[in-house]
Symmetry: C2
Subunit: 200 residues, 2 copies
């Protein structure tokens, strides 16, 4: 006695989600097919819609449905200041502090040896082109203060030093091991304000 | 600065999954749209395929792609023995013990006041029709020994007593508070073997 093939396929497909093991995939499949079939249909449509509409901003690499994201397309932002973050959620946290009016570059990742992610998985060429396009004078490294974020900052520093740019790092006002996503806006604003020059 | 609408819709749609809060929905959406777009496509297709192919067995109510599931369509099974379980995974656990050769009825749910699930959410009419169709002489209640499973067994007992059926309950060989899905096959076989008559 086995599951019907379409149910097994669904359970397998749900395992693609981060943090979902066999038991929770099975629970999710039962839920979608028994308790919330309308929700299941909405989920399939939302995936399809996002897959066909979501692109990356040509300038900052974050998710965007248009060629340029809203921040990059805003002429009011300071053009000489470029803040590099790991993920879109980090950019959103910084925006919430209302203490930064420059532009961003979103790595959409980090260096994480345990997950098999190295510097080669980062869009470093695109970042170098952007940072050296002649408009930027200061690059603020705002990767997390985790081991992965620090390793990522090191890679960025190596990439961008000695290029005539001022390189700064947001201040370690964040707790050690902390992630931008989980910090309160006041602490994050302070860390931005106290950003410091990077010494070799 | 906000997420693109299609990304926000995807995050919202992922919240339909049991146990997925705002932060993990966001992490899942990033993962699907950045790290594993092929997995995202497979997931959407698997949902659509399951939604269009998965039905319920007309006889035992479990998931099935055909009118009758494999167990109900098997003429070798004892027709006079009907085992009632909460979920398909429970039926699969019992099948793995190879100690039961009767048929099943799958409730696809349980009584769970905390989740707002009452006896009215169970397919009791369909179950009564099945149990009283003249072929069944013994009904084995094999709901979990959790508070919800015991409440469900009570509802089933009330429904089926005084109808000329022998009502039995699998033995409490399972640990108290235990769920069928997580028990070893030997213990579950013992619990089936020691099933006892239900006294009013
Ligand atoms: Zn942009
Ligand atoms: Zn069946």
């Amino acid at each position: 006695m086995k599951n019907p093939p379409s149910l097994d396929s669904l359970i397998t497909a749900l395992r693609v989600l981060p943090g979902v093991g066999p038991k929770s995939a099975q629970r999710m499949a039962y839920h979608l097919m028994q308790r919330d079939t309308a929700g299941a249909d909405r989920l399939a449509r939302a995936i399809d819609h996002a897959r066909s509409h979501l692109k990356h901003c040509a300038r900052c690499n974050t998710f965007s449905e248009s060629e340029l994201c809203g921040v990059c397309a805003d002429p009011q932002r300071r053009q000489d200041l470029l803040c590099i973050v790991e993920m879109p959620a980090d950019e959103m946290m910084i925006e919430q502090t209302r203490s930064y009016d420059g532009l961003y570059f979103v790595l959409m990742g980090r260096v994480s040896p345990l997950d098999g992610l190295t510097a080669r998985d980062l869009p470093l060429e695109q970042l170098a082109r952007r940072a050296l396009d002649g408009t930027v004078s200061e690059v603020v490294l705002a990767t997390n203060f985790t081991a992965e974020g620090e390793a990522t900052a090191h890679v960025l520093h190596t990439l961008l030093k000695d290029r005539g740019l001022t390189l700064t790092r947001i201040a370690r006002g964040l707790p050690v091991g902390g992630e931008l996503e989980y910090v309160d806006p006041g602490t994050l604003a302070q860390a931005l304000y106290e950003r410091r020059g990077i010494k070799d």
